[in-house]
């Protein structure tokens, strides 16, 4: 029993990270129909910038904040320099551009930072809490809490604010959004900033547990993509549920089968979803009336 609980707790922690990455995919996908494969790099940058800012003497909270802000800025730059100039190109081309951007960011990180594995101290120490015979690290609670805060914040933003509803309107029908006076290029920029910022936050929260290096982004992007596909691409609720499901599946696979196979779980999920449930759990069928 306590063993199962232990696997579930670690699954939820990992799942919260996947949910945040999936949410990043969702936000950009909604604004532009583009699947941004540089999403994992945003997570890597969040961790790496914090590590180096902290090493340079900045207090941890300030370093973390700087990492989130800098990564959000980088997301905006990526939109302005790589996506916007290619506007009007087919979506597949834009997706390939994001793959290029991800390789570029990874390469640049290797040069700017280094190729070592890094970490920084957990926010609230390393003494685990005991729950019914299982243990959970305080940092895991930070990860889960951070994910919950991001989801609640975004939900409020999208349902209550004019700007949030402008983003939703743009994702629903971009031309119609322009017709009612919504500045859709700005919505795109905002989406990239939000996505990158959320990715970086995930990186900041999880680095004390999983550690980071210049090349952690690729695996995270693939897991986050699997989570987003499972939940239904373009649906924030799907990102949350997909991320948690995937995390739990990984936790249980690692616990009961072998941790060698935990990565395989994510990829079996992608294949199964693509074969049997292309819309995902909460995906909507899109139809156009002419």
């Amino acid at each position: 029993m306590s063993e199962l609980l232990q696997f579930l707790l670690s699954g939820v922690t990992v799942g919260a990270v996947y949910a945040l990455v999936a949410l990043g995919f969702t936000i950009i996908y909604n604004a532009s129909d583009v699947v941004n494969f540089a999403q994992g790099e945003f997570v890597m940058l969040g961790g790496m910038i914090t590590v180096f800012a902290h090493a340079a003497g900045a207090p941890l909270p300030l370093a973390a904040l700087a990492a989130v802000v800098a990564t959000a800025g980088l997301g905006v730059a990526m939109n302005k320099l790589a996506i916007e100039p290619a506007r009007g190109a087919p979506v597949v081309s834009l997706v390939i551009i994001t793959i290029g951007a991800s390789i570029f960011i990874r390469g640049a990180a290797q040069l700017v930072f280094d190729k070592q594995i890094h970490s920084f101290p957990a926010f609230s120490g390393d003494d685990p809490f005991r729950i019914l015979g299982a243990t959970i690290l305080p940092q895991s609670l930070w990860v889960i809490g951070g994910a919950v805060a991001v989801f609640i914040g975004l939900w409020l933003f999208f349902t209550r604010t004019l700007l949030g509803r402008a983003v939703l309107a743009t994702s629903n029908n971009r031309l119609a959004a322009q017709l009612v006076g919504i500045n859709t290029p700005f919505v795109m920029t905002l989406s990239f900033a939000l996505s990158a910022g959320i990715g970086a936050l995930a990186g900041v929260l999880v680095t004390p547990i999983t550690m980071t290096s210049y090349d952690v982004g690729l695996a995270l992007a693939l897991k986050g993509f699997a989570a987003a596909m499972l939940g239904g691409m373009g649906n924030p609720k799907g990102a949350l549920v997909g991320g948690l499901c995937l995390g739990l599946l990984e936790g249980l696979t690692a616990g009961y089968i072998s941790s060698q196979y935990k990565d395989a779980a994510a990829f079996i999920v992608i294949l199964a979803v693509l074969f049997f449930l292309p819309q995902g759990l909460f995906g909507r069928k899109s139809t156009d009336r002419v």
Partner: protein, 256 residues
């Protein structure tokens, strides 16, 4: 006083002159229709006026300001709105939400006030909702307010799109085939609606195939053929114009 003037507008696609040197003006409260045979360049002209295409030559002037090739959201801010022949509505939102989206520009609350759900934000949202319901009443869709837009009939969606455009309180409204695909009853409803909007002082520019409707409601008609303006004037004079008749019947030689 001319509200919107089109001055020598032209565009070519790969050497083909789709529209060449077209000029005319629209005054407040006036209904101007652009007609012409299929492929005459009506929709291309519309797309240039509304900033979808960048014209190769000429200018679009709105209230004395050059707005040529300005993007649709900036035109919306200056009071020029359009509808599309192939419906651009938010399919998965409700009918009411679609119209409320038209109040986007008039609502201007801070993100923080909205997040905290302050009274000012709620008041603003309520005003937009009341306005939207009133507009739905005007286009006869008040009973469908809570339905998902995607579930409406074609004719209702056309009226929904007009209601949403009206929410922006436009000075100029560009309607691209508002009656296309509608039955006779729906066409007449749209017909009345357009006349009513014009009567409230909005300048209306219309592209429409339904000749009866065009003749009935237009103050002024511009006729295009092969991308050029071949005639303009009131409905009676245009319908008697030999060049127009020739263009529609395809008997260019006979018309001389």
């Amino acid at each position: 006083m001319t509200l919107l003037s089109i001055e020598g507008l032209g565009i070519s696609f790969g050497g083909v002159r789709a529209v060449h040197d077209v000029s005319f003006g629209v005054r407040p409260g006036e209904i101007v229709s652009v007609i012409g045979p299929n492929g005459a360049g009506k929709t291309t002209l519309f797309n240039m006026i509304s900033g979808v295409y960048q014209p190769g030559a000429g200018k679009v002037v709105l209230e004395g300001e050059d707005v040529t090739a300005m993007s649709p959201h900036l035109l919306a801010r200056r009071g020029m709105c359009r509808t599309f022949q192939n419906l651009q509505v938010f399919q998965t939102m409700t009918v009411l939400e679609n119209v409320i989206s038209g109040y986007h520009l008039q609502e201007s609350g801070s993100v923080l006030a909205d997040l905290l759900n302050l009274p000012a934000s709620r008041r603003r949202a309520r005003a937009a909702e009341e306005g939207a319901r009133a507009l739905l009443g005007r286009v006869g869709l008040e009973r469908a307010a809570e339905r998902e837009a995607g579930s409406l009939s074609y004719g209702s969606l056309k009226r929904l799109e007009i209601a949403r455009a009206m929410a922006l309180k436009p000075k100029v409204l560009l309607l691209d085939e508002p009656a296309a695909g509608c039955n006779a009853v729906e066409t007449e409803e749209i017909d009345h609606l357009i006349a009513e909007i014009a009567a409230s002082g909005v300048a209306i520019l219309l592209v429409e195939h339904d000749m009866k409707m065009v003749m009935r409601i237009s103050n002024h008609i511009v006729v295009l053929d092969h991308g050029e303006k071949i005639a303009e004037g009131d409905p009676a004079s245009v319908s008697r114009n030999p060049a127009v008749i020739a263009a529609y019947l395809g008997a260019e030689d006979a018309a001389g």
